[in-house]
Symmetry: C2
DNA sequence: TGTTCATATGAACAGTTGTTCATATATTGT
DNA sequence: ACAATATATGAACAACTGTTCATATGAACA
């Protein structure tokens, strides 16, 4: 984890106003800090997972993992309003997780990224392992 | 996606009160529906990703991916209160993402699951690919 | 046993998120 | 050009989330 990435060596938030925090393992903390990815990276990764953290979006992704579908297909499949589905698809599109293809007035949605499949697989395996 | 899993064939939320929704691709919707994982599964996977969707927890996971650390190490490393760190670790522990090892009064935290590493890698690659 | 230190927990508040309802855009067929 | 249809968007509200502050455990050393 966290290799070949922009690092955050220049962190300045080390010292609190006083020596309130006790450095139990000063050496370990120092080396870990040097190899931490930059905050922007962890933030971006967290944002990616946030997109995947909604059950409705998860079901949409599962569906699109099998076949490309349009908004009203998904609405019928999931039993929700087309507006709600469209809003979620907007989120997924913004994160480049799904891609669109227009054919007349119908917009087809499909998974855009193999990382999404693998990440889902990891989540699924973890969940089933834990019970 | 969604193979060898408990299916949700017995969904009852198919018909809205009236024929408000137009089934554009009825056949595709039917086959996708049959192969959808049960709602409990997608819910659990979404919950797993929710745990990963916070920047603070993401940084904690990156740190623990390098070395096991105690609460006050993490607090010093991340520049936050030990209470805040402890709360986040509680969330991670509940999701079985980290494991604890006690040594005297110090509790060491470490990653518990290789799925977490892989999932992170997927998120990271996706993020860097998108830019 | 009592005190100290590392960690955990509870309550509460501010900020964020997802849905609904209403309306807007865009494309096809007449 | 106009009406119909598929999708998109805006505003707003309820529900959820993460932090802070205060307090409680629980283990070790005197």
């Amino acid at each position: 984890m966290a290799q070949d990435l922009p690092y955050a060596n220049n962190q300045t938030d080390i010292a609190p106003d006083c020596c309130e925090t006790s450095f139990i393992h000063e050496e370990a903390v120092r080396t870990v800090r040097e190899r931490m990815p930059a905050p922007e990276v962890t933030q971006a990764v967290a944002d990616f997972f946030r997109v995947m953290s909604d059950p409705t979006r998860m079901r949409i992704l599962c569906a699109l993992g099998q076949s490309e579908l349009c908004v009203c297909d998904l609405a019928a499949l999931l039993g929700m309003s087309e507006s709600a589905v469209s809003h979620q698809l907007r989120t997924l599109r913004a994160a480049r997780v799904v891609r669109t293809r227009r054919e007349g007035r119908i917009v087809y949605y499909a998974l855009d990224d193999h990382h999404v499949r693998t990440a889902y697989k990891m989540g699924e395996e973890h969940v089933l392992e834990v019970l």
